[in-house]
């Protein structure tokens, strides 16, 4: 294991648990942020350390950096990409079809707005709209990763705009014991250390730990001490990472519905699968793996260095939705 202050080209990301969708999206966000910050000099790639349990991803860089420098570069990249997270004050992902079309066309019109086009195309398509009397003005059917529709005053776009721009969470603790963390520290915690989820910041319900079952809690569920926090750095990276999962319209059951890289809808509902690959892969290569038609077929991607594939299912818990911890589906 590399010491935190020792420059290295290989960094084991001990914070990113393999069966956690938020962690996987954070990994995508990390690669995206590093590419945005200094793609040519860092050439970031990721692989999974299959041989050394517990399973964790490893970041590979072209030149040695310390963990702090990695986090600083990622923070700078996130800040740069967060500029695209501007939704004109709209709180939910429910654009009427014409508005969605205009937004997408405007984003695609110029290479300068490539980051924004990436983000918007990961969120919606004007071809996939919800059932409505008038399809011409129907709201878009959002990405299946959107779990917030205003229930419990949780708004997806509102959070997608604010979380990447919130560089640091509020200081942890009270009074003199309050500890403030920097933007880089916050990301370093998410990447290199086990998560403590101490932050009272917004999240996207991608972390399976947010699936809180009162009956399974060790103490009084109404006690604020048991109120779960978030890992802000992970949510920041994941908010950036979602742009890597491009959405495309797909005909399904007589309707046009949204489909994303790695996603599939079947009789059991929506699930998201990601591979555990052995060799360092760029973000583009990972996207290609996620889009591979054999992704869900056991051992079909073995020749591409995929050890196994993890699948997280979207579930409803009361009025909220969550993702389960991912499990390897062998057959």
């Amino acid at each position: 294991m590399t010491a935190p202050d020792e420059p290295a080209t290989r960094h084991r990301l001990d914070g990113l648990e393999p069966d956690n969708l938020l962690a996987f999206l954070a990994l995508l966000g990390l690669l995206r942020a590093l590419e945005a910050e200094s793609r040519d000099s860092l050439r970031p790639r990721a692989a999974w350390d299959v041989e050394h349990p517990p399973l964790r991803p490893v970041l590979h860089l072209a030149r040695p950096l310390t963990q702090t420098e990695v986090a600083e570069a990622a923070a700078a990249g996130v800040a740069r990409l967060a500029a695209a997270h501007e939704f004109g004050g709209r709180a939910d992902l429910d654009h009427p079809r014409p508005d969605a079309r205009d937004l997408l066309k405007a984003a695609a019109a110029s290479p300068e707005t490539r980051q924004r086009a990436d983000l918007l195309t990961a969120l919606m398509s004007d071809a996939a709209v919800k059932d409505a009397k008038d399809p011409a003005t129907a709201p878009v059917d959002p990405t299946p990763l959107c779990l917030l529709f205003g229930q419990g005053h949780q708004h997806f776009l509102d959070r997608l705009a604010s979380v990447p721009r919130t560089e640091v969470p509020p200081p942890r603790g009270r009074g003199k014991k309050a500890v403030a963390v920097s933007a880089a520290d916050c990301l370093a915690e998410a990447l290199f250390k086990p998560w403590h989820r101490d932050d009272p910041t917004f999240s996207f319900r991608w972390d399976p730990a947010e699936d809180v079952r009162y009956a399974l809690m060790p103490g009084d569920p109404t006690d604020p001490a048991y109120k779960g926090g978030t890992q802000h750095g992970a949510n920041r990276l994941a908010a950036i990472g979602i742009a890597a999962l491009t959405l495309a319209p797909e005909p399904r059951a007589g309707r046009v519905r949204p489909a994303i890289l790695g996603g599939r809808s079947d009789a059991r509902g929506f699930s998201f699968a990601w591979p555990v690959w052995r060799e360092p892969a760029t973000l583009a290569a990972i996207r290609a793996l996620l889009g591979h038609p054999g992704l869900r077929t056991p051992a079909a991607l073995a020749h591409l260095g995929v050890d196994h594939v993890l699948v997280a299912r979207r579930i409803s818990v009361g009025k909220f939705m969550n993702f389960t911890r991912a499990r390897a589906e062998e057959r």
Binding site: P53, D211, D220, P221, A267, H308, T324
Partner: protein, 498 residues
């Protein structure tokens, strides 16, 4: 040297969930769960350094294998239970009283193993006496594995019987160097520990399983309304379902494929495997009464029929979505003019996963060495022999039926004295509890006989137990009535991979 941890589930039930979102029990418990139980015992006993060293020694031992029997997954309906420790700070807080405590939903997935004793084996582990004593002390205090209601008796042993060792299979998850530190750190931080390291499935084990021509993925037809005819009329109902499907193709404007109709384009019976429709009855349990709870469409293996757009269109055209009931309903009824006692009208709902246990295809799939018929086999030919020779003639026909269904031939048993014989045991009665005999007893009325479609009406019926030399993955459907649910077999030695 070999080290064995023997765990006996004292109540014969293992409560352990795959996850909070799942109603599936985690059986057999994997080494990481068992190791966590040992670590919990270590903490409860005072975190002795000697015992911690023993656990650290144990976590570095490679190759963990499990010997566990098959298990029956209990249904895990939602229960409403009070959450923990309601606040007591407020005066007059009546929610502390049992009757007024809030209730929250949860499930209690559980497995009922055939053999309550499970063994976790380290094939290359030779602890010194002090380490073994420390481990055994921990094992002695490990009162449960999984949920705290899974009471256990645990002990470590050095020796293991050869036949037990031979039955050991690789675990699905394993512990590793540093697991104890990881668990203690997670506990101190109030975090849920991650599962153990995944062990890739052994490819050779899967390759050893043989299977027949029918697919293990079924479309279930859950009986939701109407009086279901007795299982003895299952072939008639199956034929009516098939006719409805064929009608659905016409209604959807699609050509009826050979794989569904069982007929070649020229109208002759096809020789290729085609769709079978089997009854799913309440059988194989002490109180089983044999009533039919649904049917299943069993396509030929690898045909992809259940995903075929034409098939789905035909099914949809006959099974309309009823909004108020939230499900599709396929209504099956006999033609007008059917005799009073034989007419039926039932509603079936297509689904890939049904709640009722009798609709679970797993008991029919194995893999297993031994299968027994639930519905009798319709023999392909009329019997000509009498007496003892007749029995051999039946066995020969069943062996041919296995061959026709793409299955291996039954095993051969070689007794100490006498000639070898095939491991096929025909009988009037089924070996499965609740299944109906192949023919009624002498004075029984005629209506207690099996009702068969005209093409099979005169054929002899027989139940059988068949033992294969190698593991076979079901479904096993034998005889001339296999496409109408006759000759449907159930595994009677459920052997599931750990």
């Amino acid at each position: 040297m070999t080290l064995v941890l023997e765990i006996e589930f004292l109540a014969g039930v293992a409560f352990a969930a795959v996850g909070p979102d799942s109603d599936r029990p985690d059986w057999p418990p994997q080494p990481d769960r068992i190791f966590s139980a040992l670590v919990a015992a270590w903490a409860a006993r005072g975190q002795s350094a000697r015992e911690a060293d023993a656990l650290r020694w144990l976590e570095t031992r490679p190759e963990q294998r499990i010997v566990a029997s098959g298990a029956l997954a209990r249904t895990a309906p939602v229960s409403f239970v009070p959450p923990n420790d309601p606040g007591t700070g407020r005066i007059g807080n009546r929610s502390v009283l049992p009757d007024f405590r809030a209730r929250q939903p949860r499930r209690f997935p559980a497995a009922r193993p055939d053999d309550p004793t499970l063994r976790l084996i380290w094939t290359d582990a030779d602890p010194d006496d002090a380490t073994l004593a420390a481990l055994d002390a921990l094992a002695a205090d490990t009162a449960y594995v999984g949920h705290s209601t899974s009471l256990t008796r645990c002990r470590f042993r050095r020796e293991v019987e050869p036949e037990v060792l031979a039955a050991a299979r690789p675990a699905q998850r394993r512990i590793y160097d540093g697991r104890l530190a990881e668990l203690t750190a997670a506990f101190a931080a109030g975090r849920r520990p991650a599962p153990g390291a995944r062990v890739p499935p052994a490819a050779e084990a899967a390759a050893m399983v043989r299977h027949g021509v029918f697919d293990s993925r079924w479309l279930l037809l859950d009986h939701v309304h109407g009086t279901m005819p007795d299982v003895r009329a299952a072939a008639i109902v199956a034929k009516t379902i098939r006719d409805a499907l064929l009608n659905g193709y016409s209604g959807a404007g699609k050509r009826i494929p050979e794989i569904v109709s069982g007929h070649a384009p020229d109208g002759t019976p096809t020789r290729a495997p085609h769709l079978a429709i089997v009854p799913l009855a309440f059988v194989g349990a002490p109180y089983a009464d044999g009533r039919v709870l649904g049917f299943a469409l069993v396509p030929p293996r690898g045909s992809g029929l259940l995903n075929d757009p034409g098939f789905l269109a035909a099914l949809r055209s006959k099974a309309e979505l009823i909004e108020e009931r939230g499900r599709r309903i396929l209504t099956i009824c006999t033609p007008k003019g059917t005799a009073n006692g034989h007419a039926f009208r039932i509603e079936l709902s297509p689904t890939l996963k049904a709640d009722r246990r009798s609709l679970d295809p797993a008991p029919y799939l194995g893999p297993a060495h031994t299968f027994a018929t639930v519905t009798p086999i319709v023999l392909d030919r009329h019997l000509k022999e009498k007496g003892a020779a007749r029995q051999n003639e039946i066995i020969a026909q069943i062996i041919i039926a296995c061959r026709n269904a793409g299955l291996p031939e039954p095993a051969t048993i070689t007794p100490d004295k006498g000639a070898p014989f095939a491991a096929v045991f025909p009988d009037k009665h089924s070996a499965i509890e609740g299944a109906v005999s192949a023919w009624p007893s002498g004075p029984a009325p005629a209506w207690t006989r099996w009702r068969l479609p005209k093409s099979l009406a005169s054929r002899p019926l027989i139940h059988a137990v068949i033992h294969f030399a190698e593991k076979v993955e079901g479904p096993v459907l034998l005889g001339a009535g296999r496409f109408f649910g006759l000759g449907l077999c159930r595994a009677i030695e459920p052997e599931r991979a750990p």
